[in-house]
């Protein structure tokens, strides 16, 4: 879908909103509930039209803000895939240990099997979270312009039908495009270097249980949860400012 086609429709919808406002303003019906929509729709039409024409400025602003904050999407995506690779290594090691132990006669009743199963479940969870982060990141990185244009389109619909979700989409695209690549820096600021928590085949279970798994819990669950919470709050705030009403995120971030 072409972004500029969406913006063209948004501009037409802004015009429709504006002229519906003038129609309601002129209508000779002494009912305040109807008449009050006139000035509101006129203002909405002008506001939407300004947003449509500010699209490229908004994109430029987001990119400049990102440059100013030192974001690097290529590094961030590569960081996410390295994280996934590390988790996969740990998963393979534990799975090998599990298969080796259970291959012996009566291996299934070995007391070590319980913790190993728990670790397998935990690492699977970590990989799911990292996978979800990769999907959200790719979505934001590849479609930031489209999300922004869709937000403007929603804002342009007459009678404020899509105003809330439109503001949310605009806030989401701005905040997540600038904020997501700063996740590794955020983790580094708290001395959480999850990429260093890789394992070798010689590592024993104690290292796994006391160093690797806790590092992954902190670096792939707790800290990203806090960080995404901060980004979500900022998105909702900016969405509320833009839409002038209640706003909520277009995607769920409580998958953690």
């Amino acid at each position: 879908m072409n972004v500029f086609q969406i913006l063209s429709i948004s501009q037409d919808l802004a015009g429709l909103t504006y002229f519906l406002g003038t129609l309601l303003m002129a209508i000779p019906v002494p009912v305040y509930g109807v008449k009050k929509w006139g000035p509101k729709l006129i203002v909405d039409g002008i506001y939407s039209s300004i947003l449509v024409n500010l699209y490229e400025t908004l994109i430029l602003f987001v990119v400049q803000l990102g440059n100013y904050l030192g974001i690097n999407w290529t590094y961030y995506i590569s960081w996410l895939y390295q994280l996934l690779t590390g988790e996969l290594q740990v998963y393979t090691l534990i799975r090998t240990l599990y298969a080796t132990i259970t291959s012996f006669p009566y291996g299934g009743i070995n007391p070590i099997v319980g913790p190993l199963s728990l670790f397998l479940s935990l690492i699977s969870g970590f990989m799911s979270i990292t996978g979800t982060l990769i999907v959200i990141s790719q979505l934001v990185y590849n479609y930031v312009g489209l999300i922004l244009a869709l937000g403007i389109l929603m804002m342009s619909i007459p009678f404020r039908i899509g105003r809330s979700i439109g503001g949310s989409l605009i806030g989401f695209s701005i905040v997540f495009y600038v904020g997501l690549p700063l996740l590794p820096s955020f983790l580094s600021a708290f001395n959480v270097n999850v990429l260093q928590s890789t394992v070798g085949s010689a590592d024993n279970l104690t290292v796994l249980a006391t160093q690797v798994i806790p590092a992954y819990i902190e670096g792939t669950v707790l800290m990203p949860l806090v960080y995404l919470g901060i980004l979500a709050s900022l998105s909702v705030g900016i969405g509320s400012v833009i839409s002038g009403s209640y706003s909520r995120l277009p995607i769920p971030v409580d998958f953690l």
Partner: protein, 78 residues
């Protein structure tokens, strides 16, 4: 996409035409109520409100038509 766009543009044109017609109607009804020999203040006040609203609506209609036409013109140049 082009179908949606032309539909919205057609709708906008119709709404604009109806708005001008409604402006004339509101103006006429407003003056009729205001000039009517009815000694009820509320009726005359409603007539006055109709006239004021109609004038404001006509102002915004004229301004909006010009501004939106200018935006379309400039957007079409690039």
């Amino acid at each position: 996409m082009a179908g949606v766009e032309s539909f919205i543009q057609q709708l906008t044109t119709q709404v604009t035409e109806i708005s001008w017609s409604v402006f004339i109607l509101a103006w006429a009804i407003g003056w009729a109520l205001r000039g009517s020999p009815i000694p009820i203040f509320k009726v005359k006040r409603a007539g006055q409100d109709f006239i004021e609203d109609a004038i404001m609506a006509a102002f915004w209609l004229a301004l909006g038509t010009t501004v939106f036409a200018l935006i379309s013109y400039f957007a079409g140049q690039f």
